[in-house]
């Protein structure tokens, strides 16, 4: 059977290094299969997160040959196996061990975003009437599997480490899904401008390019949110009107 060499980052928050492992390759294998094979036979305590192995849960995010990817959806047949394949943990989050990072920041920030607040039900049985065309856009955002690869690749977080001032693409998608939800009555535009730092995004679309769900993060979520923020706070006509009608909201 053919083999390939994998250089996997081993270590913890105190530091680490690449260790090379050679393992057998069989038809249809993905990177996660190779990691599991190495874990089973050569490195029993190799730390790696995974769950569904079908691109549905977003647990096995890592950087394969430098690109942020889900390991379960990365086919070895798409990778040049003549050279060693490097596998590293995501860089935008604190390291825990081997391929596992501390992504709890994403959960804390999400909790801060104002929750869904629906309008009163349309019908007596407590249900609402919505047409499919009204929810298509929001359903796109709700495909997000929270793999956090978009957060990992965003330079505002990765290089500039603005975790305290900027919520990142995943959470803009979350905010967009709430803001554009046909039933929602909450207003998050002030937070998006002030605490969530939407202004930091300079729409380089790195996030869109790595999204395993193919969500058009920049075009469909972030840019429309930016436009709404601009409309709300920087529109000169609106500003003028507000002076005469301060209780507008």
């Amino acid at each position: 059977m053919p083999t390939a060499t994998f250089k996997i980052w081993r270590g913890d928050s105190d530091g680490g290094k690449f260790e090379a492992y050679e393992t057998e390759i069989s038809e249809g294998m993905v990177v996660l299969d190779a990691v599991h094979q190495i874990q089973k036979d050569d490195a029993n305590d190799l730390a790696v997160r995974w769950n569904c192995k079908a691109g549905k849960c977003g647990s096995c995010s890592a950087e394969v040959n430098g690109s942020p990817k889900l390991m379960c959806m990365s086919r070895l047949s798409d990778i040049d196996l003549d050279k060693p394949i490097t596998i590293e943990p995501m860089k935008a989050f604190p390291h825990i061990r081997d391929l596992v990072t501390d992504v709890s920041w994403n959960y804390r920030v999400k909790k801060r975003i104002k929750k869904f607040k629906p309008r009163k039900p349309d019908n007596a049985d407590g249900s609402w009437t919505m047409s499919q065309t009204d929810i298509d856009r929001v359903q796109e955002f709700r495909k997000c599997i929270e793999c956090f690869l978009c957060q990992d690749v965003c330079h505002v977080l990765r290089e500039h480490e603005k975790h305290d001032e900027f919520i990142g693409p995943r959470l803009f998608v979350y905010a967009a899904q709430l803001e554009m939800h046909p039933l929602d009555t909450e207003n998050r535009l002030g937070d998006l401008k002030d605490t969530d730092g939407i202004g930091f995004c300079n729409i380089t679309k790195c996030c869109t390019n790595v999204c395993p769900e193919g969500i058009a993060i920049t075009d469909n979520a972030i840019i429309p949110l930016k436009e709404r923020v601009v409309d709300e706070f920087y529109d000169p006509v609106k500003k003028l009107l507000k002076i005469f009608k301060p209780s507008d909201k």
Partner: protein, 605 residues
């Protein structure tokens, strides 16, 4: 002995899939303090993988549907060994539980008049599954997660519970550790809810993730609770089978609901060859009628591809045994053919089955809009589990509740697709409500320190090499999976089941000698060694229960007793831990169904 951190809650929920989250939300809503422990990160539990939909008789697509039809369908699908009271509650309450999700932000696909759209699924008489394309589970778990984080629930991500703690007969807490640092944690609780899912990792070919190691089943068993129906394991008929690395991955029943058909290597739709008597009146006997059904003709009967999962899986096994299987030991599932009937077929497939399209394209180089998929049975679900009271979801041990896949009763011998997501919601809510009420009526218990010390000693023993020789925990798990697949799989016989029990004994002995390398921080080999104990318990329960039921019914098929037998028509197989620590097994008669429910079933046939 090592130190540990202590937390105290009114209600502790173990497991954060659909059932655990729904239970936590409900308990918290009553004012109880709630801790929620998840083995993975929040929102990654196995519910996320559910594809086809959630079954509820909303009657949005076909107004003939109502709870009575759903109840009768569930009982028929379960071959009448279900807990009929659970089936009744489930059918009645599912619509409200689904509507409630919209109040919390879920967005199901819509009908033309703007209501929740419902699709056809195996064993459901009318289109009943509310869905979002083929990612309904993700929608459900995300909705519960995003609602739940604002309900004051304390979430413990990546924690594992290794034992329940008792005060006399009552469960009053749980002991475990955080995976990240490997430090021990004690949870004191007035009531504990298990919502840990299934046991699929006991098998080699499975659609289940690593978490599915029967933890709740095993924790409850060790705490003295009864398990029932463990012989009933669902092998989903359509898992991917090629390439080898994706073997077992689920292919949603929604493919067949949207018009997909099963063919053998000769191109024949073999499902027409064997339609069980119980389903003959409501199954199409020709391809044309079956097609009309999938396209919403209310006067047509369903195609045989939408018979119950147990039956479809067995037909696939039959085709292979008789030499008519596909190249890699399965059959062909063809959705591409609908293009012959629908000019926009390709677009429709991509819109209705987007994850399936991507899954095959990315992992198998197959374009399902152009060519058939190769599929075969995969271990998917366990109908058996912790015996619970239908209304309250309390187990046979006071203070211990269970909901979702780890609880048993609703599905009987075979679960209908779509009934698990509704199960999670209906009984998750009930477990939360009743556990909170139990916590209100009962004060905190006292936990004897020696129990805790014993658990710690056991958990840490794997770091020290056993004198009898060390074992690699991953290898033991793989050996168990091979053995269960081979001897306790879809087709069973007495001699193999007896052999399996013997093998489990040997594997358990080896598991006790697992050696873990490295330290306690995020050490997956340690986690695997600890999970093995649970896997051994559930594997033994399945094998022993399967040996006792000398008939074939639902998910349980015996080659040596290939027909249904009246002797077993109204019994449950009950498993519990005897005073000597050995597994005890007995058959118990199911209480007679209420007359009004009997009448519902009679009227439906």
């Amino acid at each position: 002995m090592a130190t540990y951190e202590t937390f105290e809650y009114d209600v502790l929920v173990i497991g954060a899939g659909g059932a655990g989250l729904r239970a936590a939300i409900e308990a918290s809503g009553t004012g109880a303090t709630v801790g929620l422990v998840c083995k993975s990160l929040l929102g990654k539990a196995h519910t996320v993988m559910a594809e086809g939909g959630v079954a509820a008789a909303l009657a949005n697509v076909d107004d003939r549907d109502n709870w009575k039809v759903h109840f009768a369908d569930t009982m028929r699908g379960g071959q009448y060994v279900n807990n009929w009271r659970m089936a009744e509650l489930h059918a009645k309450e599912a619509p409200d539980r689904v509507r409630e999700l919209e109040e919390w932000g879920a967005l199901f696909d819509r009908t033309k008049d703007g209501r929740i759209l419902q699709r056809n699924f195996g064993g459901h008489r009318y289109p009943r599954l509310a869905h979002v394309g083929d990612r309904t589970g993700l929608e459900m778990i995300r909705t519960l997660q995003d609602h739940g984080i604002h309900q004051g629930i304390q979430v413990y991500m990546e924690y594992t519970i290794v034992a329940l703690l008792k005060d006399g007969e009552r469960v009053v807490g749980a002991f475990g550790f955080d995976r990240e640092r490997g430090r021990f944690k004690l949870f004191k609780a007035k009531a504990v809810i298990l919502a840990t899912g299934g046991i699929g990792r006991a098998y080699k070919i499975t659609s289940n993730s690593w978490e599915y190691t029967g933890d709740g089943h095993s924790l409850a068993y060790d705490a003295g609770a009864d398990l029932i129906d463990m012989e009933f394991v669902q092998f989903h008929p359509t898992g991917m089978i090629w390439p080898p690395s994706v073997r077992g991955l689920l292919v949603t029943e929604g493919v067949r609901g949207e018009g997909g058909v099963l063919r053998n290597k000769d191109g024949k739709r073999f499902m027409f060859d064997d339609i069980p008597d119980l389903y003959k009146p409501q199954t199409a006997d020709n391809e044309e009628e079956g097609w009309r059904y999938t396209q919403g003709d209310v006067n047509a009967r369903r195609p045989p591809e939408l018979l119950t999962r147990d039956h479809v899986a067995r037909c696939i096994v039959r085709e292979n045994r008789e030499g008519r299987g596909s190249p890699h030991g399965g059959v062909f599932l063809d959705i591409a053919w609908i293009k012959e009937r629908l000019p926009d077929g390709e677009e429709l497939i991509k819109r209705k089955l987007p994850s399936m399209y991507h899954q095959f394209k990315q992992l198998a180089d197959i374009d399902i809009t152009k060519e058939p998929m190769e599929v075969g049975p995969t271990t998917h679900y366990v109908m058996g589990g912790i015996r619970v009271d239908a209304d309250s979801q309390m187990s046979t041990v006071p203070g211990l509740f269970a909901a979702g896949e780890c609880a048993a009763g609703l599905h009987g011998a075979n679960r209908l697709g779509g009934n698990s997501l509704s199960d999670l919601l209906v009984f998750g809510k009930r477990a939360g409500e009743y556990a909170a009420a139990f916590a209100k009526e009962n004060g905190p218990g006292t936990i004897d320190e020696s129990q805790i010390e014993e658990v710690q000693r056991w958990a840490l023993q794997f770091f020290e090499e056993n004198e009898q020789g060390a074992e690699n925990p991953y290898h033991i798990q793989a050996d168990l999976q091979d053995m269960m697949q081979e001897l306790v799989g879809i087709v069973r016989t007495e001699s193999e089941l007896v052999q399996a029990v013997g093998e489990i004994e040997k594997l358990s002995e080896r598991a006790g000698r697992s050696l873990v390398t490295g330290h306690r921080e995020y050490n997956t080999s340690w986690h695997t060694a600890l999970d093995l104990k649970n896997l051994m318990t559930v594997s033994e329960a399945v094998a022993r229960a399967a040996a006792v039921r000398k008939e074939s019914r639902g998910g349980h098929f015996r080659d040596d007793f290939s027909e249904k037998d009246e002797t077993f028509a109204n019994v449950n197989t009950v498993v519990n831990k005897g005073p000597d620590g050995k597994m005890e097994i007995r058959s118990e008669t199911i209480p007679e169904m209420r007359d009004d429910l009997k009448k519902v079933i009679e009227e439906m046939v």
